[in-house]
């Protein structure tokens, strides 16, 4: 009985979702993959922004450390 019910659901689903027309992608996807990789490459992680903000705040509060910072850079 269960197998019959499953078969009925299967038939209903196959009727509702006809076979897909798999002719492959309509365009060359490689350029899109490269663009996606480039986007990632230029994206700055959030932690780097936090570090930069903390450093900027420190320099504003303690401007006297700027020469020392340049010396060590």
């Amino acid at each position: 009985m269960n197998a019959q019910n499953d078969e009925k659901i299967r038939t209903l689903l196959k009727g509702a979702f006809p076979p897909v027309d798999d002719a492959g992608p309509q365009r060359d996807l490689w350029p899109a993959v490269l663009r996606r990789l480039d986007e990632e490459a230029v994206r700055v992680p959030w932690f780097d922004w936090v570090c930069a903000a903390v450093l900027a705040a420190l320099l504003l509060v303690f401007p006297e450390v700027i020469p020392a910072l340049f010396y060590y850079l």
């Binding site: 659901i9 689903l13 798999d22 492959g24 992608p25 309509q26 996807l29 490689w30 993959v33």
Partner: protein, 172 residues
């Protein structure tokens, strides 16, 4: 050095070779899950981006195709979750039975709507098992779950679908 080892080291040419070799398989697999060619193209790009990003985790001794398919399945699963959230349908599906039993298109639409309301992880397994008739082993490998989990998900998907179809007035 082998192609897969070069890929793991981040060689873009090796990656392109693998892309050219496997893009059709990945696209085809994703298309069977999401059943939307435009979305399948975007998700294929997303899959290969994730593949490149995770290249350090790949063991060159293993099958690249199987690994790519597993990532593609996860990408498709994420897409279905997003789509399901965007097109959240009303909880009450009882719009009554199709007005005219001869209107088969109406019935098919109702079945498709009910199916799209299943949780994404049940949709994926039900699509592959019931519509695409893929083997349980193939589905288990693609999702990284056990055969028992596949059987359980198919069972739950059928049960929930039958409940929804009954409420929608479709004889299941």
């Amino acid at each position: 050095m082998e192609l897969l080892e070069q890929f793991v080291l981040g060689n873009l040419d090796a990656f392109e070779t693998l892309f050219r070799q496997f893009q059709r398989d990945v696209y085809s697999w994703v298309l069977r899950i999401v059943r939307d060619p435009a979305a399948a193209e975007d998700l294929t790009v997303e899959t290969f981006w994730r593949i490149y990003r995770s290249r350090a985790c790949f063991d060159p001794a293993q099958s690249f195709g199987a690994w790519a398919r597993r990532i593609a399945t996860n990408v498709a699963l994420d897409h279905l979750r997003k789509v399901r959230a965007e097109v959240a349908l009303p909880e009450d599906l009882s719009q009554g039975p199709p007005s005219n039993p001869a209107l088969q298109q109406e019935t098919r639409d109702q079945i498709a709507r009910c199916f799209r309301r299943l949780p994404a992880k049940l949709q994926v397994v039900a699509t592959l098992a019931l519509i695409e008739e893929r083997s349980e082993g193939e589905i288990a490998a693609a999702l990284g779950i056990s055969l028992g989990a596949v059987k359980s998900r198919v069972f739950r998907a059928v049960r929930r679908l039958r409940e929804m179809l009954t409420r929608a007035g479709v004889q299941a």
